[in-house]
């Protein structure tokens, strides 16, 4: 039986990942900000067959609460086999351009908060000598584009942090996975017009769990974003700065 910690458990992708672990009869510890949503997800996972589920309501921006949170999760789960960090916000780029405070809050939620969690979790997992730490970054972090570079830079910073952490923990048997979803149909992208590149949250979740099982390092979700981002990363800056997207 796997012991799974899911942070940001009411996000669209995390809910689907949690369902897959519940069907495997895992023990789950869930963390999210909204108590009503968290309660709904908790009873869903229990009904789907999870061995046991506990949940804690935390505003993840408050990094001083993180040490106690990690300790509570470890107490309940016993060990941390799989940790998924999935919380994040998707701001309107235009608003960020005229409001630095908004940009700052995006960086707090998308970058500083997961970095703080990873710092504490890394030490616990290093000591236990195993487990998988999967963190949802984004394809948007691979290159800053004018349409969402604030969100993109928060994810770029996260990806860089994870890359270093992965190298640090690899010799200790702990696998760090940077998950890079493309467009996924969740509440976060509700305002974006859906095109053929959109994947369902359930499909994305299946890809995430496959990557965790296979102990991958970087996982594009769905996989074809690897090719798309390879091209985007290699467009010369002279051309790239003229692109509107």
């Amino acid at each position: 039986m796997q012991h799974v910690l899911i942070i940001g458990a009411t996000s669209g992708m995390a809910m689907e990942v949690a369902k897959l672990y519940a069907e495997r009869k895992c023990r789950l510890f869930l963390v999210a900000r909204n108590s009503e949503k968290l309660a709904a997800v908790e009873s869903d996972l229990k009904a789907r067959g999870a061995e046991s589920v506990a949940a804690q309501v935390v505003n993840l921006d408050e990094t001083d609460k993180h040490p106690a949170l990690v300790a509570a999760a470890r107490d309940f789960l016993g060990q941390l086999d799989v940790v998924l960090i999935a919380h994040g916000v998707f701001p309107e780029q235009a608003k960020c351009e005229s409001d630095y405070r908004l940009t700052e809050s995006v960086l707090r939620t998308n970058l500083l908060s997961p970095i703080s969690l990873c710092t504490h979790l890394a030490n616990v997992m290093q000591a236990q000598g195993g487990g998988t730490l999967a963190v949802i970054s984004s394809v948007a972090g691979d290159r800053g584009r004018q349409s969402n570079y604030v969100y993109g830079s928060s994810k770029a910073g996260l990806s860089a942090f994870l890359s270093g952490l992965r190298a640090r923990l690899a010799p200790r048997g702990v696998n760090v996975i940077t998950i890079k979803p493309g467009f996924v149909d969740t509440a976060m992208t509700a305002a974006i017009k859906k095109g053929p590149l959109f994947a369902s949250a359930a499909n994305a979740a299946a890809g995430i769990v496959r990557a965790i099982d296979a102990r991958r390092s970087i996982a594009y979700v769905p996989w074809f974003w690897w090719g798309i981002m390879l091209i985007i990363k290699h467009i010369p800056e002279v051309i790239f700065k003229r692109l509107k997207f």
């Binding site: 069907e23 869903d44 305002a191």
Partner: protein, 433 residues
């Protein structure tokens, strides 16, 4: 953001989407807008569409609230699909009490259309197995509806086509099974007379019955088909596996792909693939109940113009000749497709006021949309259904006239008293005009 497509991809409409993600979150209903719940968009015509209105999309409402593994009572949010329900309940030894021909429908949609399946003669419609649900009205009121509470709204909302408000969660009584297998038998029949014989003889011993009908062949092959009947496997140990092969139709097929010759070839091959008179086998429930679900987005084979599905029920009083008259009309048109289905309904009543199934034989088939010619055919079939004293199924319909609708559903006026003032649909505006 706008959208709006039904499974038949006709008619084309434009609606605003309002995703409903969480049970506890209130919905702000605006007085100048008209709302309609939209689950998986698997009904064929316009009953899940709301042109120029708002669709309350429920695919985010997909959580289980409780599942009692001892009693088989499942309470879940209304956007959960039967597919997901089965994934959870089958390993626990339970099955949905009634299932339509696709598992990609939401529980809310199954109630709102009061769907039926191959076990109508033994279990009736889906609505008979609903223990309770919550109905969110545009006033913000949340009403618990059950056979004991808010009885009238309970009866109006089952087969209520989403017009009485938004069903947010529902409680269903599941039925126990031993394993995922179905002991099935397929029997060839050479004409409609033989179909009625086999059907009559199967009702007692088989929980599930349905027939595939060749709807293009004439002459001596007229009215031939294959009768399929089955029961849940009683064996304890036998393991049945679903096929892992997933097919999908990635793009719209060009208009010429489906024509008289390809359809004729399919029908002949399908009938002749079975050499013996009858074949018994143990199969997984997926190919038995959901043969078409094996091909995702199969509606694309009909191309961009979409298709119409026609389903009627003809009462026993109309006699067996009514069915053959209708089939003759379809064969003569050369317009029939390969998915014709025939089944005899039982007489178990539904709590749903506007429920479609009633005693008699039901015929269901697809027609590719070839424009005016097909429209005439649909109108002709509507007229014949009326003439024979039958009824047509709103979930499959894009054509019945307002006048005929009222004939098929005589309690429509009583029903309309329970419609939420802020709710409407393209279908309802069409048939109540």
């Amino acid at each position: 953001m706008s959208y709006g497509e039904s499974w038949g991809r006709y008619p084309k409409t434009n609606s605003t989407l309002h995703p409903v993600q969480w049970l506890h979150e209130p919905i702000k209903f605006e007085s100048d807008k008209r709302y309609l719940p939209y689950g998986q968009g698997r009904s064929y015509g316009d009953c899940c569409l709301n042109d120029a209105g708002v669709l309350l999309t429920t695919n985010g409402l997909s959580r289980i609230i409780s599942f009692d593994r001892q009693t088989g009572v499942l309470r879940c949010e209304a956007g959960l699909t039967i597919d997901e329900v089965l994934r959870v309940i089958v390993p626990a030894g339970w099955f949905v009490p009634v299932t339509p021909g696709t598992r990609f429908v939401s529980i809310g949609g199954a109630i709102a259309n009061d769907v039926h399946g191959k076990n109508h003669h033994t279990s009736g419609t889906f609505g008979r197995h609903v223990l309770a649900f919550e109905l969110l009205r545009s006033s913000g009121e949340r009403l618990l509806c059950s056979p004991q509470q808010n009885t009238e709204l309970f009866r109006a909302s089952i087969a209520g086509l989403g017009l009485t408000g938004l069903i947010t969660w529902a409680e269903i009584q599941l039925k126990p099974i031993k394993n995922a297998g179905i002991e099935m038998e397929s029997v060839r029949f050479s004409d409609l007379e033989e179909f009625f014989q086999i059907s009559g003889g199967s009702e007692k011993d088989f929980e599930y019955t349905v027939a595939w009908l060749d709807c293009v062949s004439s002459g001596s092959a007229f009215g031939r088909g294959i009768f399929m009947r089955g029961n849940h496997s009683a064996a304890d140990a036998k393991q049945c596996r679903a096929s892992r092969l997933k097919l999908a139709v990635p793009v719209d097929a060009p208009g010429f792909a489906l024509n008289r010759w390809t359809v004729q070839a399919f029908n002949s091959c399908y009938y002749n693939k079975q050499r013996q008179k009858s074949v018994r086998s143990l199969v997984h429930y997926e190919p038995f109940f959901y043969p078409l679900d094996a091909v995702l987005d199969w509606n694309r084979i009909y191309g961009r113009r979409g298709f119409f599905q026609f389903q009627c029920v003809l009462p026993p009083t109309a006699g067996k000749t009514a069915l053959s008259d209708m089939l003759r009309e379809i064969v003569a048109s050369g317009n029939g497709s390969f998915l014709a289905v025939l089944k005899e309904f039982g007489d178990l009543p539904s709590p749903g006021m506007m429920s479609f199934p009633r005693p008699g034989v039901t015929l269901c088939l697809d027609f590719a949309n070839h424009g005016e010619k097909t429209a005439c055919m649909m109108k002709r079939l509507d007229a014949m259904t009326r003439e024979f004293g039958g009824a047509m199924y709103p979930a499959k319909d894009a054509w019945m006239t307002a006048d005929n609708f009222r004939r098929y559903f005589p309690c429509w006026q009583e029903f309309s008293k329970f419609i939420d003032p802020a709710f409407s649909s393209s279908f309802w505006r069409r048939v109540s005009a």
